[in-house]
Symmetry: C2
Subunit: 437 residues, 2 copies
Amino acid sequence: MKRTLIEKIKERTGQQIKIAGFVHTIRDQGSIKFLIIRDISGTLQVVVTKTSPEALKVAKSLSLESVVEIVGLAKTEKQAPGGIEITAEKISILSLASPGLPIPVVEKGVEETDLQKRLDWRWLDLRKPEKTLVFKVWTLMEQSFREYWTQNGYIEIHSPKFMSTPSESGAELFEVKYFDRKAYLAQSPQFYKQMGMASGFERVFEVGPVFRANPSFTSRHDTEFTGYDTEISFIESHQDVMAEEQKAIRYALERIKEKFGKEISALYGRDLIVPKLPFPQVTMKQAKEILAKLGVPNEKEGDLSPKEERKLSDYIQKKEGHEFVFVTEYPIEVRPFYHMRLESNPKLTKSFDLLWNGLEITTGAQREHRYDVLVAQAKEKGLKLKPIQFYLNFFKYGCPPHGGFGLGPSRMLMKIFNVGNVREVTYLYRGVKRLEP
Amino acid sequence: MKRTLIEKIKERTGQQIKIAGFVHTIRDQGSIKFLIIRDISGTLQVVVTKTSPEALKVAKSLSLESVVEIVGLAKTEKQAPGGIEITAEKISILSLASPGLPIPVVEKGVEETDLQKRLDWRWLDLRKPEKTLVFKVWTLMEQSFREYWTQNGYIEIHSPKFMSTPSESGAELFEVKYFDRKAYLAQSPQFYKQMGMASGFERVFEVGPVFRANPSFTSRHDTEFTGYDTEISFIESHQDVMAEEQKAIRYALERIKEKFGKEISALYGRDLIVPKLPFPQVTMKQAKEILAKLGVPNEKEGDLSPKEERKLSDYIQKKEGHEFVFVTEYPIEVRPFYHMRLESNPKLTKSFDLLWNGLEITTGAQREHRYDVLVAQAKEKGLKLKPIQFYLNFFKYGCPPHGGFGLGPSRMLMKIFNVGNVREVTYLYRGVKRLEP
């Protein structure tokens, strides 16, 4: 007999069916046992009575979170949660859980509150339907971004994570023992997605891990995380990059709301909003003026502190009713050497960040594609040319004007679910003190 | 004026249009210049005459592979390649290439033959239409696999690449300086995709880099490459995993042939075949018997050498007219401790490899999900339990029976294009001696 997913049981009431899943709860009522079985699609009540003595015997030996296969009759039952239950005829134990779970696998609200302990037993934590939901949404989010990109002529690349030199800057870089020499883990696919432009690929995207030896313990940082990166050619300015990004984000959020909006609302109390186009934007200068008027102290010269980001987002939310805001024209001091500068003011870059409800989720820019200008900007920043010569060479033999952005999907998820900690939306978090499980 | 992609010019003959791309060739005929311009979608002839003296002046200053924007009249012209050309009215140089290209960017057959030199200048090499095609096909291949998975209820995971211990075996492992301790780069997402099963995700897939400190210089090996990995729960045996894999491969090849079959045939002389289901399969025992009959010496006890893989594939191709063959039931000696064993013969595993035209592209198996049996098998292999205890714990609190496979997309591409070297189908190859560009 083929297994039926719990969400499909409704279509099969009155029939003998087989289900499989985890034992979510066990309730004893004398000679009757009620089990709640959980599979990837939902939960279902199973009744075990004396009329199936073999099944009752097996049920008595069950521990919470054991994995079972149950054959029985599906029927409507008003008193059962969801209005359906199964009367067990046969129960087979596929995997018996050791008694005494290190953390309980229960509904939201009564869970183990110590985050570190939940991370230690992450696979038990992830069994909770509201945690599994995060990764169902991630799957659809990534699929949607990719659909946007492939439907718009982007080529997918998988760039190497090993690099020969500490390229952009030596800071926050992981060093690898590489046979008889050293290698470094890429902090972003920046240089290599730009190589795609020099290769004439015109539009590329990459999804992959990026590595940052960031020693901080904030709720937003980790030592490795997934990055979404794109780069597009033949642009007029960073505005073309922003136009692409907002369309992709809108497309993804539209699909997520459509498929998971109700569940997100029910389990997280977050009413997901599909953002209107175009997203509002302010220059860094305007942002600082707005913050000054709001009485928010200037905490970061030419850049925004987390607090300033929150305050600016609040202001835009109130004024424009929009959760997103692009901040543009960052001064050259806070941007890398390869960001192109404004023709009208060479102290400013053709760059942007994107904030969503107070959190920076993106950095982007038009890149400097003119070899001589790029070399001059690198020198001005005090960079040694030799370690980045391989990169500079990309611009020697013709390269279209181009730009792109990097977006953090886990930061997107923090805002989709309105949770404050990146650890909650990462499959297995990695930080300074955490390499396990 | 908006730019028109070269492939769309046909729809706009008789109109003034703008194109942008690389200068592919320059041909001088006295007072007339013929340029071939190349963009991501194709190539186009541009004529520059004295009637546009400014354009002619710019054309004279052009070097090969410079990036230009050209405005002019599109018209049908029998003598032009493709039957269409543009008469240039205005040429703007977006990026002037240094003269003297280190490797030529020309059609297949007359290219620079030294592979190392081509890899040194990989972005110039990738400009050739037949090289760009590889990554267009990769994009569609990955999209197709993902479509198969998402349409069949798989959840996408991004598992960490940092691990705390040299887990599976200490061999071929990269060591990372991780703050005040050491970390290791994951050789596969094996343990973590199995964690997805212990998390109740039921079906997962992951696309990401895997790292192998393999010191060899063969045409099939690299130190990092992209892996496609899946794992599925509630299976009866490895046959369920194989059934899923062959359907996904067929789906992808069907779509690739549909969209790129003609181009692959024209540029690589390879007639892509959409494989019939089910794929043929032989046990390892049968494979060795077949090879013995063919007079192929037994080069690898219980396993197949590259030569044996080729000979076996040739045999299946002749006998069954099929390019694929599953080899099953590998002996426990050549398989890792977590492969489940056959009930009928505990010396053999419920495992398989998949060969495509003589190349191994996959390894898969049902996994041992019973804690006690798994521990016994680890001990039998001589493994220390402490470093893998975090993994063994996944099976302590209930875990469904499950299995999965890993597939190498670059090996798929080698067979799609019938090329013998993985370097040709990798965006930027990494090997013992190659970390640049």
